[in-house]
Symmetry: C2
Subunit: 154 residues, 2 copies
DNA sequence: AGTCAATAGTTGAATTACACAACCTTTTGT
DNA sequence: ACAAAAGGTTGTGTAATTCAACTATTGACT
């Protein structure tokens, strides 16, 4: 890391590219998800739900207001993908759990979104992975608790 | 096509990380820009303006509604960073141009945003650059018109 | 030249994605 | 037992953005 000015300029440069990529990706994802009547925020929420999870926890791990979790949960419940279950000991808490349909959906959706030629087709497997590793490094360095909140994938 | 399923899963995986990085970056940028009374969309617009540019073109290159360009231009003009100039031949058109202040701002802002420890400090210069190159590759492939729509002929 | 359709930009209404504050229920601490 | 805190919901507000309607200008065809 030579001089600050060059670093700042490189970061700005990088971010420009990032800002260009993002709408492309979000657009693609949104398009595909639209067929299932869900937004990419819904999907992001669904992604975070796995075992029984108090709504509060979802709010925390998505870093959104609890009231918005209510809305997301409503929508996902409407779609039959999750359920609100009473917490076994604390009657204030509602646990979000995947329904059978939800589990099936969650398992198949990545392929439905990313099957065939897509945004990342131009990258080789190695490049895709490298890209992910670099991004993950950024996330990790930012570090606080929200990284740990992400469930492990495969 | 080696195995689509693995590729899809890798893409999904990558996008998860991307979705995690983005709020961090946007948050950082927004924070810094707030001091100048502008949103990161304003900045993104400013970034696109250089020579005299019809508002229509800005709408097109930012892929947003023309009416929204009016608003963005209003804000940037309010800040004294750009100006609406009459088009030399077509009186319907208003050309957006940087003011002197705008030029200065545009030149110094990257450093103001990315100076000091930031989101990308964890990456080395080489890594930052590599990250950019990979992202640029994604952008380029998308820009090639309908690459995404073509079947994998190779 | 005269009319008519298309274009650039603006304005105002509608939409969407959220956050915030107020509220009810249940739990916890003393 | 009672005050305070926590989980969730509802209602309200705001910011970002699109859509539709309007004005001024231009280009196209006769």
């Amino acid at each position: 890391m030579a001089n600050d000015s060059a670093q700042a300029s490189a970061a700005a440069d990088l971010v420009e590219t990032l800002y260009t990529v993002m709408p492309i990706v979000v657009g693609h994802v949104s398009d595909r998800l639209e067929d299932f009547g869900m937004t990419h925020t819904d999907y992001w929420a669904l992604r975070s739900v796995d075992g029984p999870m108090p709504m509060k926890d979802l709010a925390q791990c998505m870093d959104i207001d609890p009231s918005y979790v209510t809305l997301l949960a409503d929508r996902l419940e409407e779609l039959g993908l999750i359920e609100r279950q009473p917490h076994p000991t604390d009657r204030r808490v509602k646990n979000l759990v995947l329904t059978a349909k939800g589990k099936r959906f969650k398992k198949t959706i990545p392929e439905k979104i990313w099957d065939g030629p897509n945004t990342f087709s131009a990258l080789s497997d190695a490049e895709r992975n490298h890209l992910k590793v670099l991004l993950a490094k950024v996330v990790a360095s930012h570090g606080d608790g929200d990284v740990a909140a992400l469930p492990e994938s495969a």
